[in-house]
């Protein structure tokens, strides 16, 4: 991707989000990121906001600053997400609301505000995060998978709503990657999950970056409403 593009990434404090910051800042993009906690370390082209992705007022304020500072937004990567592995019979509503709030409401809010900014220049690339837990229908991940199924529907419909503005909307569905998101999942569950993949290994940040790089290229302007699952699920 060309230098000077303005890239917004959510959930950048660690894991895949941080790897994406390193990748795009290293390529000369102006990267804006956010997470609930401060970002440790510094990158020359990186600016961080501490906020909850479901906090409409804080999110709108951040987008207002991006518009005033950069005048545009080229790429949004909705990486922020939370998971909770639990049987449905033991899942409290507070956990359901938290998961839906971050994974679905946060993704919707960022898509909406990003598209408002992107349509000024009739150009934009949005990448959302799904999961292999949706097609694999994993027991114990009902709420997490449901929140990501909602993200997939959102992605496919926004792709149509935003097409006239020159904005593409796609999603990536990572296989398990060794980050905090799967920290609470028992190893035997993860092994069983990986056995159901065509390629039987954990995903890595570079696998995710490879797919996102494809989606956000200017030349990918005829690719929208698609979901790519990693690992051959």
């Amino acid at each position: 991707m060309a230098e000077n593009k303005v890239v917004l990434i959510t959930g950048t404090r660690k894991g895949i989000g941080r790897a994406l910051v390193e990748h795009y800042a290293g390529r000369g993009c102006h990267v804006v990121g956010c997470s609930r906690s401060p970002f440790e370390g510094e990158f020359p082209n990186y600016r961080h906001y501490c906020l909850d992705v479901g906090d409409e007022l804080a999110v709108k304020r951040m987008f207002s600053e991006i518009r005033k500072h950069h005048g545009r937004l080229d790429v949004l990567i909705n990486n922020a997400g939370v998971a909770s592995m639990n049987h449905s019979l033991l899942t409290p509503i507070s956990a359901v609301n938290k998961i839906m709030g971050t994974n679905f409401t946060g993704t919707f809010l960022f898509c909406r505000e990003a598209a408002r900014l992107m349509q000024l220049h009739r150009y934009g690339r949005i990448v959302n995060f799904a999961t292999v837990a949706v097609p694999l229908k994993l027991e114990g991940e009902a709420v997490y998978a449901a929140s990501k199924a909602a993200v997939i529907s959102l992605t496919q419909i926004l792709a149509r709503e935003f097409a006239d503005f020159g904005i593409t909307v796609n999603a990536i569905g990572p296989a398990p990657i060794k980050t905090d998101l799967i920290r609470g999942v028992p190893p035997e569950k993860l092994d069983a999950l990986i056995e159901r993949q065509a390629i039987k290994r954990y995903g890595e940040s570079r696998d995710v970056i490879q797919v996102i790089d494809f989606f956000v290229q200017p030349a990918s302007d005829f690719v929208t409403g698609q979901v790519i699952f990693l690992g051959g699920v």
């Binding site: 408002r116 349509q119 006239d164």
Partner: protein
């Protein structure tokens, strides 16, 4: 600061922007009575969405506040505030009062 004249001026800036997106024979006239919806409007649904977003942006820049024009209140009103530039300016005046 938030007098009716400033509100209409902010709307006209948004109209200037949307006119850049419209063909020359479908320009939106900067006048209070200009219709924004219905058969007399030059806007299709996508351009109406873009205009509302542009007006929200101009209001934010002019009055340093964020507002949502197409909310439940606006959509449930007996007479749509999006009928004309004047009716929309009146509605914005109520929102930011």
């Amino acid at each position: 600061m938030n007098d009716p004249e400033n509100i209409v001026t902010a709307i006209y800036r948004a109209v200037d922007w949307i006119n850049g997106e419209l063909p020359p024979d479908r320009q939106l006239i900067k006048a209070p009575e200009t219709r924004l919806v219905g058969p007399q409007s030059v806007l299709d649904s996508m351009h109406l969405v873009s205009l509302i977003v542009a007006i929200e942006r101009e209001v934010e820049d002019t009055f340093s506040l964020t507002l949502t024009l197409a909310d439940e209140r606006a959509l449930s009103m007996k007479e749509s505030p999006f009928r004309s530039i004047q009716s929309l300016a009146d509605y914005i005046g109520i929102l930011i009062k």
